[in-house]
Amino acid sequence: MDMVSFKGFIFIVAALIAIAASLLMVTRKNPIHSALWMIVTFFAMAVIYLLLNAQFIAVAQIMVYAGAIMMLILFVIMLVHMEKGPEAEESKKSGPGKTRVAGAVITVILLLEVLFGSLFYQMTGRTGDYPTELVNNTGNVKTVGSLLYGQYLFPFEIASLLLLVGIVGAVVIAKRK
């Protein structure tokens, strides 16, 4: 291949957007700016999911993460920062402490190990029952749905129970005494 394929080009652009937006998210002082950059990251990741033939997960990513979770986070930021200014939280101490820098360095070392491992891994050669052509013939959403309501029915029900417990727990915790 002397030319970068179309999918590769889109992937590189989306990956660069995701990395840049997540870096901006981590470094912004104002939490609302962080949340907005987080939404950009989620959209870039949704594009990558589309490139990897996971249409259902891409749509769920936009609806659940960029729609529901980030809206919740933005509301809580606005609730919590009503009286204080946006930069009140981190202006007292300047810069991260030594232990935090050490933790960050250790994390970067772990990243290098992961990159090294992913360069030299070997597939076992065994593949699953859902090649891309077959999934595209029946439809991605239909395939995921039949798996969720067939093979994974019990975990699916447990997940719905978990959501119910989460709703009740959130209401109970945030209720005024």
């Binding site: 291949m1 394929s5 590769g8 992937f11 990956a15 995701a18 990395i19 997540s22 998210m25 981590v26 939490p31 962080s34 987080m38 990251t41 989620f42 990741m45 990897l52 996971a54 259902f56 997960i57 769920a60 990513q61 659940v64 993460y65 529901a68 979770i69 919740l72 986070i73 809580v76 919590v80 939280e89 101490k93 933790g103 960050a104 994390t107 772990l110 990243l111 992961v114 990159l115 992913s118 593949t127 699953g128 029952d129 859902y130 090649p131 891309t132 995921v144 798996l147 969720l148 997940a159 978990l162 959501l163 417990v165 989460g166 709703i167 727990g169 959130a170 209401v171 915790i173 945030a174």
Partner: protein, 103 residues
């Protein structure tokens, strides 16, 4: 037929995003920003699931990502309720100043 993306690039991108999220969770002090960094790390793991599922022609990766998203949604609801309560009791969401387990 368009050429598929090698899973190595997805693994590398996922590692980079996970590292950015972990560094943010270590160095930031606002608990809401720490929470967003945790969400970013969950997303990086989702990317590995999807890339592996695509490379191994399996659908289980997408199902697992679905369950991870469910857990993340529940975590967001309960965690943000806890943050609102902590702010009401302590008047701050700075992770260094919130050091009491009682109200």
């Amino acid at each position: 037929m368009l050429q598929e993306i090698p899973p190595l690039f997805c693994f590398a991108l996922s590692g980079i995003l996970f590292t950015i999220g972990a560094i943010g969770a270590i160095t930031r002090r606002n608990v809401i920003v720490i929470f967003m960094c945790i969400e970013l790390m969950l997303n990086a793991v989702n990317l590995v699931f999807i890339a592996s599922g695509n490379a191994l022609s399996s659908m289980d990766g997408a199902v697992f990502v679905f369950f991870i998203m469910t857990v993340a949604a529940v975590e967001a609801a309960v965690g943000l309720a806890i943050f609102v309560m902590v702010f009401r009791l302590q008047g701050t969401v700075n992770a260094d100043e919130v050091n009491l387990l009682r109200g």
